[in-house]
């Protein structure tokens, strides 16, 4: 990389020691702590059931994720951002391929009907919709950082182009929504909205976008699949649609509530151990945690996530450039909304949508995506002083 001037604030210190000093250890430690809690919880959640292999698999995915984390941290994020359009294109392509070839990689055909969220690569089912989130964050960073330089001229850089750009960003949302994967679609929308609110010169375009979307909700609702409608109605009132999902939420609430102040203890949650909350290792790990560790443990876990989000925002604030800031805001938004939506769903105050809990939910796609996202933050953090 020619021409990059790096401030030499640490002259005389070896390259390695400078690197070590610049690495964002709090971020990494927080992440590892959450991973440890996730593994602990997964061990309890899948113990004694015929899902033993899940624990080992999760560990493997963590190793893969860690390698991804290091790789993403090391490559300068400005170089990555240059390829943002490319990533975005690839992500869209993967979605199309999943649509054409895909089936259900998961075992939930009976509950969801035919879905197209899985892509089979080398025998591994991955969900491209997870990777789309990263691509969207990168593209957002690219778009928002590019607005600054005055020498960028022409329609593409004019405010009028924003409508077009947002339409492009919304393309994956629509594609994911029809997979159907309502949770990821809503989450993508929330990420775009949050980043827009925090990074655009004026908030009004985002207000219009939000208002417009809210207006279309009744029409969109009519387009939903039966089971999706049931989930939402069942969330509002179990009596309206007494479905599996409603039972699901009910059992989850029982699990959380029965934890009381200090929980039933590790491996002692009856709701969890005897599978009253189905698939609790993917979307409902928080119910397992809350049942076994009680209010104290539940708040502790939330606090760690709050710290993680704040720390990422801190990185955003201290980033050396706009691009890095927007990346961090995007990752913070993604983490924040994942946690809030997932926990709200477990606590029965949001409909059941397939939104994972970062680093805790079982599943390779989600785990690796978050490792990569944190890698981007570490990347920005590493280079804030011009390393």
């Amino acid at each position: 990389m020619k021409g990059i001037t790096l401030p030499r604030a640490t002259i005389g210190v070896s390259r390695w020691r400078r690197f070590r000093a610049a690495v964002d250890w709090p971020l990494i430690l927080t992440m590892l702590a959450i991973c440890a809690i996730g593994l602990l919880n997964l061990y309890s959640a899948t113990r004694g059931v015929r899902h033993n292999a899940k624990f080992d698999k999760q560990v493997e995915w963590m190793i893969v994720g860690s390698i991804g984390f290091v790789v993403v941290t090391v490559i300068d994020y400005r170089a990555i951002i240059r390829l943002a359009w490319g990533f975005f294109g690839v992500a869209i392509l993967l979605l199309i391929v999943a649509r054409l070839t895909g089936g259900s990689g998961g075992g939930d055909v009976d509950t969801h009907g035919q879905t197209y969220r899985w892509l089979n690569i080398f025998g591994m089912g991955i969900q491209p919709s997870e990777l789309v989130k990263l691509a969207v964050i990168l593209l957002l960073a690219r778009l928002f950082s590019s607005s600054e330089p005055s020498h960028y001229q022409g329609w593409w850089w004019s405010p009028a182009s924003w409508g077009f750009k947002f339409s492009l960003l919304c393309l994956p949302i629509v594609m994911i929504a029809v997979q159907p994967d309502l949770g990821t679609a809503v989450l993508l929308f929330l990420i775009i909205l949050t980043v827009g609110f925090l990074a655009m010169p004026s908030v009004w375009p985002m207000v219009y976008l939000l208002g417009g979307t809210l207006c279309t909700i009744p029409f969109l609702f009519e387009k939903l699949h039966g089971y999706q409608k049931d989930r939402i109605l069942g969330f509002i009132d179990c009596g309206v649609a007494a479905t599996k999902t409603c039972w699901h939420t009910q059992q989850s609430i029982y699990a959380v509530g029965s934890g009381k102040l200090l929980g039933k203890g590790f491996l002692s949650g009856t709701q969890n151990q005897f599978n009253f909350v189905p698939e609790h290792w993917t979307d409902f790990p928080y119910s397992v945690w809350a049942e076994e560790w009680g209010f104290a443990g539940s708040v502790f876990l939330l606090a760690i996530f709050a710290f993680l989000t704040l720390w990422i925002l801190n990185v955003a604030l201290s980033s050396r450039d706009r691009m890095g800031s927007v990346i961090c805001v995007g990752v913070a938004a993604m983490t924040f909304w994942h946690v809030v939506v997932n926990v709200a769903m477990v606590l029965g105050i949001a409909p059941v949508v397939g939104v994972t809990l970062p680093f805790i939910s079982y599943g390779g796609s989600s785990l690796v995506t978050f490792f990569l996202a944190m890698g981007l933050v570490a990347n920005v953090s590493l280079r804030k002083h011009g390393y």
Partner: protein
Amino acid sequence: MMIRGDSGYGPALPELHRRLRWVALLGIAAFALLVGRLWQLQIMRGDSYYERTVSNVVKERYLPSVRGKILDRKGAPLADNRPAFNIYATPNKLTPETKQELARMLGLSDDEIAKIDERLAVGRKRDPKAPVLVLEDQGRDRAALVEQARARLPGVEVMHEPYRYYPQGDLAAHLVGYMTQMTENEADKLGAQGYETSELVGRYGLESAWENYLRGKKGVERYAVDARGNRLDDKTAAALIQGDRVIDPVPGANLILTIDADLQRMAEKAVAHTAAAAVVVVEPKTGKIRAMVSKPSFDPNVMTGHLTQAEYTLLAQDPRKPFIDKAVRATYPPGSIFKFATALAALEDGQAAEDEPMFCTGEYVLNGTHFSCHGTHGKIDLIGAIQHSCDTYFWKLAERIGLDRIADVAREYGFGAPTQIGINGDSPGRIPTKAWYDANGHYRPGNATNAAIGQGDVEVTVLQMAMAYAALANGGTLYVPQVVERIESYDGRPIVTFQPKVEHQVKTPLDAVDTWKRGMFKVTNELGGTAYAHGHIEGLTVLGKTGTAEVKKHHREDHERDLEKWNPNSAHAWFAGFAPAEDPEIAIVVLVEHGGEGGAVAWPIAKQIIEGYFTKTHPLGTPIKDMPGIRRNR
């Protein structure tokens, strides 16, 4: 190219700085919401949710209790339990293919398949994880077939369960009763004790009256399950369940009756040739019922769970009304056997004397109404009137004493009120008085004339008559009829032993009763007696009275009839008596519904039963000739 930026100094994203407070606000609001919800669920409602999760895991199962037996006085079982093979199916495990396989394997009829479907549908609604009884009391071969093919029939189980069974068939069927499935009301009441709608409860006779003792108490087993309803192993369960894991069921108590099954069988055999009849044999000294027959009968084995609609309809449409207990529930005009009330009332009042002669022309006129006696008896005294059953004599007595005196004595002997035997809805019958006639129209002196010979509006049950004759036999003690001797627990420990219960002592003077007894002696033991002509017992003095109770005509023509041997225009044939004369051991009343003449029809039956009692089933097994008080006819 130099990438232009803010070079790490100052805010890279000023918008973020400006809107940071909004971010903080949103973040705090969101986390506060979640923590608040956690507080609500875990701290405020934690205890109740904890209970819910325990009840998710810990389930209760009722353990069936074995129903108590009904035994005769010597211990012969009248109602017992035998192992039955019941086939259960679990609704959410049973696939249509499995059901077809089951139907094919057992060769089920369409009816049976329909029944299975219906029961599965009910079970699915209630609890799809709980096995439902689909085929009850299957044969050994069917059970074996299902057991062998268990691997191919997921969700189907064979259970060996006790099933009610009546080893003596229709013996004493009305007394013992039968069981049927619960009604909605009963299911509501018993549901709390763990009874299911498909279970049987006593419906008739003692099975119904003593249901609470016979039923026993269900046990409870508590066990732990996972979300799929699979049972967890005992070690896991023990950690989850506080308190007793198993509360053992208490088997029902056994009823030991006063009934003698051998005597009962003889009595039923004696009326076998009749179309409809009732017999009561009672011990005068205690009021214990030794045999009680109501014919036509039914087989309680068939009634209990196996009765098809068609069979039920056939029984229900029988004009003889098999479901009405003819000994306890049905009422009949008593005819001449009721004359004792008229005679005793007159003797008590001094309005009659044993040797007072009267003249029977075969016709009696009261206020212009003609009553005809069944014969022309000429000059006759009271004893002769009893012996020949002369109506005129009693009509004249009634004229002297009036209707209410007859009614008084009848009530004294238990008529007009239920006997309190406590089964099958014993009827009070009807003893009309002047007041009753005035309340139901208008009293006429002719009413007393009819009542004097047990006709008109007098209605009694066979059991009432038996208790009344027992009181005549024992010197004036009217007992409450007793059928249950004692109750024992399943392992033979006595729970309650019932003592004979005296209703009251009748006030009739003994010499009046003796006069009546002398008349009864002549009925059965002397030439000209209404019974003697139709046979008598050598070596045993039986005192008796026959009755032929006229009935209102059901059909216009006498030859019309509903059934062969059962013509509802015919009179009821009665016999009431006791033996031996000196120290009566049994009192017996026989009624043959529309049987005809009492002496010709009812007496031979009673004779057969009395002979049987004293030769075969007598408790001491004493031959007649050695019996005390036996006087040979010379």
